[in-house]
Symmetry: C2
Subunit: 508 residues, 2 copies
């Protein structure tokens, strides 16, 4: 980015008035204020840091998938869970990544730093890698954006909410949404307002209508208009919906019009299927932006105000257990999240950070990581998605159930056509759905009941783990199936069983 | 523990009425409720877990300090930060610990599990190791206690507070305390009531007096009596004070009398100096319990009700960057923290957990870990403590400053004798303290200003990172020096400079 371009970008607007009591009260720690004296010949008896020579870890090494520039294009064999340790020993031939204890010749922190206390943004090498990645992927449209590392998107969401919502507030969510998001909000006394969805996720029209007419319904009377919307724009959980570019623009426009903050939770962003060769096949079908190698432009990339809080994670691209993600947003918000980190998690794990930094900065590089995302992540999920869809078309009678083809993510959102059931209209829909779920269990195939993604208030008198008593939402005539985990053979078998379960239930 | 003994232990009391709105509203996630269907021939298309074959990590290896039963007693050379990478390569000869990708013959989770999503208690092998360690160290006095892993004590404290405190509540804290604890409370609108301390930490008498007479002072009128106390009983930060056994018993008794929950934050527990050989030298001086190899009995070990929330961490014993700790408390509270974890951090990092589990379970074992704690952790800090104290006695004029000898922890809490200053009584104490701090900076020695540990309300109009303008607490005539970080030579030099700075300031 040339200095000239930087000059032309606006500064973020001031969103101080959006801060919650908690967010507004977060301050820099005085202890960290001592750091500025650490120069020249200063000896510190200040911070209570254990000396790194006491750490019982001398070096950290991992065998990883090679993605460096000189890596052979032949994929390193991936170890399979079912092999014996002996077989595995032979099969695994990864590139070796080592994080030494002491100072390194290269620019990545050694273990003695990444295993030490540090500031709440995360270690420098990893944070800068993430920031550079964000800059090239999303080309932010205002100057003072920044990146702070998180312990994954669930922790990041909880911190974002704590920063901008008070007990009693309401936020907008998609009509069907990630249950953990609601479980984050509920105990904090923050309510949610579902917004209608279509095949492209949250409807901008429905959002605008809710905002334009806020206060007009009895339950909205006297309740402050929500100022925050939570969205999963790509491969939405559970519906698999991905917003088109136009939809994203429309959502941004509504947010500007009504001064909303948008939380863009995008864990499935790199699980987009229609790119490269596959994109050509689907040309014309999908609303793609080829300006960024075919990746869908994000809400964050369209935000000229600093009103989007973007949540990225390595959970779906590398592994959930990394517990490392990164939040991209205006610098003021970044500072507040940093201070919040410093009184909670401090930083992501130093083992995670040290290893990821070494791998990403010194082995893969920005280009290697992008190749990995393209050649591995999205290809893997594309094939998995296709396989489950093909199995569905082969083994499930379309009269009983169907789905909208997902263009990203991990999920098929299966609509059950209860109107074809002989007892339809005679018993409640949820009774039939429960019968189907029980039949699936009997036939040994497990999917997630649609009610788990419902935004309707859950009855308080049921045990949430008791599925048999809790298919409470009559409109939840859906089941969520994932193609992320099972083997290809298992997917085929599971869908065969599902087809039979449907047949058995619809025959009744 | 024989079944007979278990029979005799009581069950924890019911502390439901202590839960905050947030704590009471935390529920088991319905998604996790699906797990119970996973048996027999079931194929799951349920949970959105990436298949572990997609993880680009094939194995994880670390060179660690050997502490296994067959380990030679000769200490493995510890790499020093200042050596070159080449020198270090030669110097480091650690025991090699490997976490493979796929299934292991032993009982520790492989990478494919520890890098996967899991339940909010942490992985089984590590949690069970911690629980067994807690059982043998503290022999809990009620039956239904449990352990849940945390991302370290700061996150654990924030979660404990969220579970049992509402905005507007007050909690008891020590007169001087860990600033991060206050920074956790402040933004949540939770106030703190300082309790007088002496050389043994929080005074049980002062605590009892506050409770007995609650409501009698104007500022307490109409304010609900605090129901929670936060304590750092061992090697307290910043004062270095360690509670005697009697003091611990007294605190427990007051807590029972007034139905208080105690948060026992004990990161310095294993940094106790007076044990084994050293203990003999100090026999009679210290109030030691030899029933547990000389480790001080904890508040948790004396708790028959389930009213103590104990926070342990690997930050001070292994390395801060592990971001792994564990909370020991009644099982009801454990469940709530588990659910909180599941909507925030999920679990500690899988790299941290996998490596620690493999190291602790399969390499060190319970005995090896205890030997490590004794032979390394407390010995290291004992020598460091002695060195700083000796330097102080040698280089500092006792007329100007002194400290109470700490029996645990990382800190000397230095009392400055301003009454010896020629301008004492003519200018305010904090002006003199600020002069001393500035002189220290001029002489290139950094200690933490005492006001940073003050419980008095901080002025809102100062930048908390601006030390020069913010020595606001006149009673804070202390400075905190740590012996944890500097080399032995640096400590000697730093204290020499400190002695000179004192001399210069007191001459003025």
């Amino acid at each position: 980015m040339s200095p000239l371009v930087v000059q032309q970008l606006p500064m973020a607007k001031d969103f101080s008035s959006f801060l919650s009591k908690e967010g507004a009260a977060r301050k820099k720690s005085p202890l960290k204020g001592l750091l500025r004296f650490m120069q020249g010949d200063m000896i510190s008896l200040g911070g209570g840091l254990p000396h790194p020579s006491t750490f019982p870890f001398y070096s950290l090494t991992a065998e990883i998938k090679g993605m460096g520039p000189e890596q052979s294009p032949v994929t390193t064999p991936v170890p399979v869970d079912l092999t014996t340790p002996q077989e595995q020993q032979k099969a695994v031939r990864g590139e070796v990544v080592t994080v030494p204890h002491g100072p390194q010749a290269n620019k990545v922190e050694s273990l003695s730093t990444s295993l030490q206390y540090g500031i709440g943004t995360g270690i420098k090498a990893l944070r800068e890698f993430c920031k550079e990645h964000v800059a090239t992927m999303h080309a932010p449209k205002y100057q003072d954006w920044d990146v702070v590392l998180s312990a994954g998107n669930t922790d990041a969401f909880a911190k974002a909410i704590a920063m901008i919502c008070n007990r009693g507030d309401l936020i907008f969510v998609e009509e069907w949404t990630y249950p953990t998001a609601l479980e984050t909000l509920d105990p904090l006394g923050i309510g949610h307002v579902p917004v209608k969805m279509d095949g492209e996720g949250m409807s901008a029209v429905a959002l605008k209508e809710l905002l334009d007419n806020w206060g007009s319904t009895p339950d909205q009377g006297g309740v402050a208009k929500p100022r925050v919307a939570y969205l999963i724009p790509t491969g939405q959980n559970p519906t698999g919906a991905t917003m088109s570019i136009q939809r994203r623009k429309d959502i941004i426009r509504v947010a500007q019009e009504h001064d909303l903050i948008l939380i863009e939770d995008d864990p499935y962003y790199y699980l987009q299927f229609f790119i490269g060769e596959d994109q050509k096949q689907t040309e014309g079908q999908k609303d793609q932006d080829n300006s960024n190698n075919g990746w869908m432009p994000t809400l964050f990339s369209m935000d000229t105000d600093g009103r989007v809080i973007r949540l990225d994670t390595f959970s779906k691209t590398l592994a959930p257990g990394c517990r490392v993600g990164y939040m991209s947003m205006n610098a003021h918000f970044c500072n507040i999240i940093q201070y919040h980190n410093e009184v909670t998690i401090q930083q992501p794990s130093g083992f995670s950070q040290g290893l990821l930094a070494e791998m990403l900065v010194n082995h893969w590089g920005q280009e290697g990581y992008k190749r990995y995302l393209t050649e591995n992540v999205r290809t893997e999920y594309l094939y998995r998605s296709r396989h489950l869809q093909a199995a569905f078309k082969k083994h499930v009678n379309g009269k009983y159930a169907s789905f909208i083809e997902p263009s990203a993510g991990m999920f098929l959102w299966i609509k059950v056509h209860l109107e074809e059931h002989p007892r339809y209209g005679k018993v409640k829909d949820n009774v039939l759905m429960l019968e189907l779920f029980n039949k699936c269990v009997e036939y040994n195939v497990l999917m997630v009941p649609g009610w788990q993604f419902s935004c309707k208030p859950k009855p308080t008198d049921i045990d949430p783990s008791d599925l048999l008593g809790s298919w409470y939402d009559e409109a939840a005539t859906y089941m969520r199936a994932t193609f992320a985990y099972a083997t290809f053979d298992q997917m085929e078998e599971a869908i065969t069983r599902y087809g039979e379960a449907l047949k058995a239930v619809f025959a009744a």
